[in-house]
């Protein structure tokens, strides 16, 4: 299977590539729209600042191809900032719209907890989840973020709690996203990626 990993210019791609390749996937760094539109599956990884991410997608004309991929049913997995970018807006970059696949605004984590939320945390399931198949309820995932998507939409498969409940795993039709880093979450994270690959129609 060939997976397009969206290269918007700032992400740490080798670890995501390595994790997918270990599972038998062929990976390609997508820097041109047609690479996304013709992919069997798309992974949208992201670290850093929301505005740099959105700008990086625009500069490479990748925003509309991600919308087309979404509309044509290509499975897309957003990781960390890649999940956040699937929402309409982020408090981190007011006035710079995200992809808008889901309604709502990404918000800064509250002041009464340590931020960034860094480390291994657990999640609480809200509906049956393809990405979490075979993973124990008390498993840990590695998080590293200061902003988070709301935990109350229909797309929520699991929430994490750090001051507030927030979107940890989202799934709706061909869209999926995880706020944690599966490529940094040991064997548990590898299982999440395997589950995503197994959801891709052959």
């Amino acid at each position: 299977m060939k997976v397009a990993i969206v290269d918007y210019g700032a992400g740490n791609l080798p670890s995501v590539e390595r994790a997918l390749q270990k599972l038998g996937a062929e990976t390609e760094r997508a820097v041109r729209p047609e690479q996304i539109i013709n992919a069997q599956a798309v992974v949208l990884p992201g670290v850093g600042h929301f505005s740099a991410f959105v700008a990086g997608l625009h500069e490479r004309n990748l925003t509309s191809s991600l919308r087309m991929a979404h509309d044509s049913g290509i499975p897309i997995l957003g990781i960390c900032l890649g999940l956040q970018a699937m929402y309409e807006l982020s408090e981190e970059a007011p006035g710079e719209p995200g992809l808008g696949f889901f309604r709502g605004e990404v918000r800064m984590l509250p002041q009464n907890v340590k931020a960034p939320h860094i480390g291994w945390n657990q999640v609480e399931r809200r509906q049956p989840s393809q990405l979490l198949i075979g993973i124990p309820d008390d498993a840990y995932f590695y998080f590293a973020h200061s902003y988070a998507a709301p935990g109350d939409g229909d797309e929520i498969a699991a929430v994490c709690n750090h001051g507030v409940p927030f979107a940890a795993v989202i799934e709706q039709k061909n869209l999926a996203g995880v706020q944690f880093h599966p490529e940094k979450s040991g064997e548990t994270g590898a299982r999440v990626l395997k589950n995503f690959l197994e959801s891709v129609p052959q």
Binding site: G119, W120, A144, S146
Partner: protein
């Protein structure tokens, strides 16, 4: 749902080898960084830190190669640093496969380095390393250049400034305790953890399992880092984590 406390092995690297400073002897070879990284990844380490202790310009290429070799072995986060002076130094370390970069001496000289790194890569990728010596019952001073130079900076104030500039974690090393095997300085970590709104990684002095228990219970540390304790293989990370879980510390146990 509980955020787990982290156990972090540290590899001090010189010329591509893991080393340990030994009194009167200089450096002792402790093995290959990639081999040790693979072992710790398997044993259940929550993260790995790699520090270039030579930190010379000549050794920079070798260190980046070490980061690449180590990163290939891991499916956990990697922090790298030692001798990071510029935004470009930080970028090269992250490009080589590290998830976070740690800064110390250069950040004291030019605190803007923290802001630059944080704006470019995000606070979650910037770890301020603070090496301190105790100067009073409740006061500590920050040192640079591996503990050789006093800065005149109060450790708590410096940590708070670094966080306001965008540091996402504090790696706090007690020079007094480092290499003594007399336990972490729990007063120190408790003080800094109460001062800054970011995670604090305690370092320096770890010898046995009780030291780790203390630094989480009394020291309020979010993570504990150690080097030679783990290299010598007398204490496996898996056994340490089991010990801590049995005593009620939230810890991730891997299969």
């Amino acid at each position: 749902m509980t955020l787990a406390r982290r156990i972090i092995p540290c590899l001090d690297v010189d010329a591509g080898r893991v080393v340990k400073g030994v009194e009167f002897e200089g450096l002792r070879d402790m093995g290959d960084p990639a081999e040790l990284a693979a072992r710790y990844n398997l044993e259940g380490a929550d993260e790995l830190v790699v520090l270039d202790i030579s930190a010379t310009n000549q050794g920079r290429g070798t260190f980046l190669d070490t980061i690449r070799r180590v990163a290939e072995q891991l499916n956990i986060p990697l922090t790298a640093g030692g001798g990071i002076r510029t935004l470009e130094d930080g970028r090269s370390v992250l490009r080589a496969g590290a998830d976070k970069v740690t800064v110390n001496t250069a950040a004291v000289k030019r605190p803007e380095l923290i802001s630059e790194l944080s704006q470019q890569f995000g606070a979650q990728a910037v770890v301020l390393s603070v090496d301190v010596k105790r100067t009073g019952p409740e006061t500590w001073e920050a040192y640079t250049r591996g503990g050789r130079d006093a800065t005149g900076l109060d450790a708590a104030k410096w940590a708070a400034e670094a966080v306001s500039r965008g540091a996402g974690e504090i790696l706090l090393t007690s020079i007094d305790r480092d290499g003594t095997c007399s336990g972490f300085d729990c007063d120190l970590t408790a003080r800094i953890a109460a001062t800054v709104p970011v995670p604090v990684i305690a370092s320096g002095g770890a010898s046995d399992f009780d030291d780790f228990l203390d630094v989480f219970q009394k020291g309020a540390a979010d993570a504990a880092l150690a080097a030679s304790v783990f290299h010598s293989a007398t204490h496996s990370i898996a056994a340490l984590k089991k010990y801590l879980v049995e005593r009620g510390i939230p810890i991730r146990l891997s299969k």
